[in-house]
């Protein structure tokens, strides 16, 4: 049941057309940040207004929507955004990655491989990968234009000189199709390898910063590194304590005040799917 006071998926059609034009431009120039006239949304900037606008522009009544935050479907902000689209678009929602046609995410890429026909929409706080090296927008846009990316590597160089390795663990910068350096949003670098050669469309929306960018299907996405210090996707050296998965990204949960902790999949759908299929971890009821 849609809220009749608002247009389908909240935004008026003119605004959606404007956003779709930005999305198409983004798809045509992978990794390039397309300025768009971000609208004020009924949730605050920083809560995913960019992602919500991109999702609103993509949704059709036949779509099946999944919303995750930190990999989980039941975190408060994911619940709130899912409710928003149920109310304003009346679309079907799901927690199953495989069933969804549009997935809006904050900070994770689902563990299950995506397929053609799916759209993954990222919420982006700061779209500019060069921002913390150069605060000026006018200057960073010029740097992209000229492919002046030396400074980005200076940062990685400094990391290695100081720590012996590249000390960037999330929002790890990537180069898209050999041209634009792009911020993949604050996903853990564990997720970076899933960005490239992905069958699904990946769209990135930054509402407050008024930028949309995109990675079309099957695009080359390289994480920046040095030849002698190659990129490594890392995660906690544990298995999931609920489903036993060894290859999924894990959240650390403190379970008592004596230093006890457990590790569980951050992707709740992935974890419950494995548990339903009989996989067990250290803390599963049957596993104990």
């Amino acid at each position: 049941m849609t809220d009749q006071a608002y247009n389908f998926a909240y935004l008026d059609e003119q605004t959606k057309r404007m956003i779709r034009r930005a999305i198409l431009k983004g798809l045509a120039v992978p990794g390039y940040q397309v300025p768009f006239a971000s609208r004020e949304m009924p949730m605050p900037y920083g809560w995913g207004t960019g992602g919500v606008q991109v999702t609103a522009a993509c949704l059709t009544p036949e779509d099946v929507l999944k919303v995750i935050d930190q990999g989980a479907d039941d975190t408060t902000n994911a619940v709130s955004i899912r409710k928003f689209f149920q109310r304003t678009a009346g679309v079907r929602v799901t927690e199953r990655t495989a069933e969804a046609s549009v997935i809006q995410t904050r900070h994770r890429i689902p563990e299950a491989p995506l397929r053609e026909g799916q759209i993954l929409v990222y919420q982006v706080p700061i779209p500019e990968p060069l921002r913390f090296l150069e605060p000026r927008e006018a200057e960073t846009r010029k740097m992209h234009e000229l492919e002046e990316y030396g400074l980005m590597h200076v940062k990685l160089y400094e990391d290695i000189a100081r720590h012996g390795e590249i000390a960037t663990s999330y929002a790890y910068p990537v180069k898209v199709e050999g041209r634009y350096v792009m911020d993949p949003s604050p996903i853990p670098k564990f997720d970076n390898p899933k960005l490239g050669d992905c069958p699904a469309i990946q769209l990135f929306g930054a509402g407050r910063e008024q930028r949309i960018y995109a990675v079309p299907p099957y695009t080359k996405v390289e994480s920046l590194d040095f030849e002698d210090h190659p990129f490594v996707a890392s995660k906690a050296p544990h298995d999931c304590d609920l489903c036993g998965a060894g290859e999924s990204y894990l959240d650390e949960v403190i379970i008592d005040d004596a230093g006890g902790r457990m590790f569980v999949c951050s992707d709740t759908d992935f974890c419950s799917g494995r548990q339903a299929a009989g996989h067990r971890g250290r803390f599963s009821p049957e596993g104990m």
Partner: protein
């Protein structure tokens, strides 16, 4: 002579930089007026004059930091003023270099010495940490900075060291044309002498073309092949350095030379 040698010889005969009628006004005041000269490959041109003579304005116009009102600047056959900014910026991180008077303006103070030297290398595509570091170490040695300072930030360096680091950072990619704005200004006399000596060696070894702005005649005597004397935004005299300094024709140059001799 092989074909390549012929081409190289032809290139040497062409000016690397040629400037015609360059004028920059600040409202009604003239920053620099109607300046023309040519700079050939491997040549060092000194520009001297007191403060306010227009020499820094001229340098800024040449390096593309200021837009002149009139005139033409041609670099290696290309019209610099008509060039898109993208192209000019590409030049200034490959074939050009700019040494600021204050090393703070030319260095990244929050980045280690190695990172400062390595930046231009990475900007042109170097992607091997080990070899970037090796080159940086080599360049620190060439400007007489101990290799174990490579991970220190410039803020921990003395003024002379900072200036040498700025020079290493600029020269690491082997530019063809270097702009220097009072590179020895603000340094102690003994430090100045050492820096000048170092600069002279690097310029000769690398065959650099240099435009150096200074108020210090000792600097041009040591470094410059040719000299341009400016006053009130105009060039009052130019010629071979020794000629101008030993036999100045213009009254102002005479005054300038004699005032130095009195010191």
């Amino acid at each position: 002579m092989g074909l390549v040698d012929v081409e190289m010889q032809a290139a040497l005969d062409q000016p690397l930089l040629s400037v015609t009628g360059l004028t920059k006004r600040y409202g009604a005041r003239i920053g620099c007026g109607d300046v023309s000269f040519e700079l050939f490959p491997g040549e060092v041109m000194g520009i001297v004059g007191e403060s306010g003579s227009g020499k820094s304005t001229l340098l800024s116009c040449l390096a593309g930091h200021l837009v002149p009102d009139q005139g033409q600047v041609t670099y290696a056959g290309r019209d610099v003023l008509a060039m898109a900014e993208t192209e000019r910026r590409r030049l200034s991180r490959t074939e050009w270099a700019y040494v600021h008077q204050n090393p703070r303006d030319g260095l990244r103070m929050g980045v280690s010495a190695g990172g400062n030297v390595g930046e231009r290398l990475m900007a042109v595509g170097a992607r091997h940490y080990g070899s970037i570091r090796e080159t940086a170490t080599d360049w620190l040695g060439r400007v007489e900075i101990a290799a174990d300072r490579i991970d220190d930030r410039p803020s921990a360096f003395s003024g002379g060291m900072q200036q040498r680091l700025q020079i290493a950072r600029n020269l690491v990619t082997g530019p063809r044309l270097v702009f220097m704005d009072e590179p020895t200004g603000g340094l102690d006399v003994s430090v100045q002498a050492r820096l000048l000596d170092l600069l002279r060696g690097l310029v000769r070894d690398m065959g650099l073309s240099v435009i150096i702005v200074t108020h210090d005649l000792a600097v041009v005597r040591l470094l410059a092949d040719r000299l341009m004397v400016m006053k009130g935004g105009r060039v009052v005299e130019q010629g071979l350095t020794d000629q101008v300094l030993d036999d100045p024709q213009d009254a102002y140059t005479q005054l300038l030379v004699s005032s130095v001799l009195q010191v």
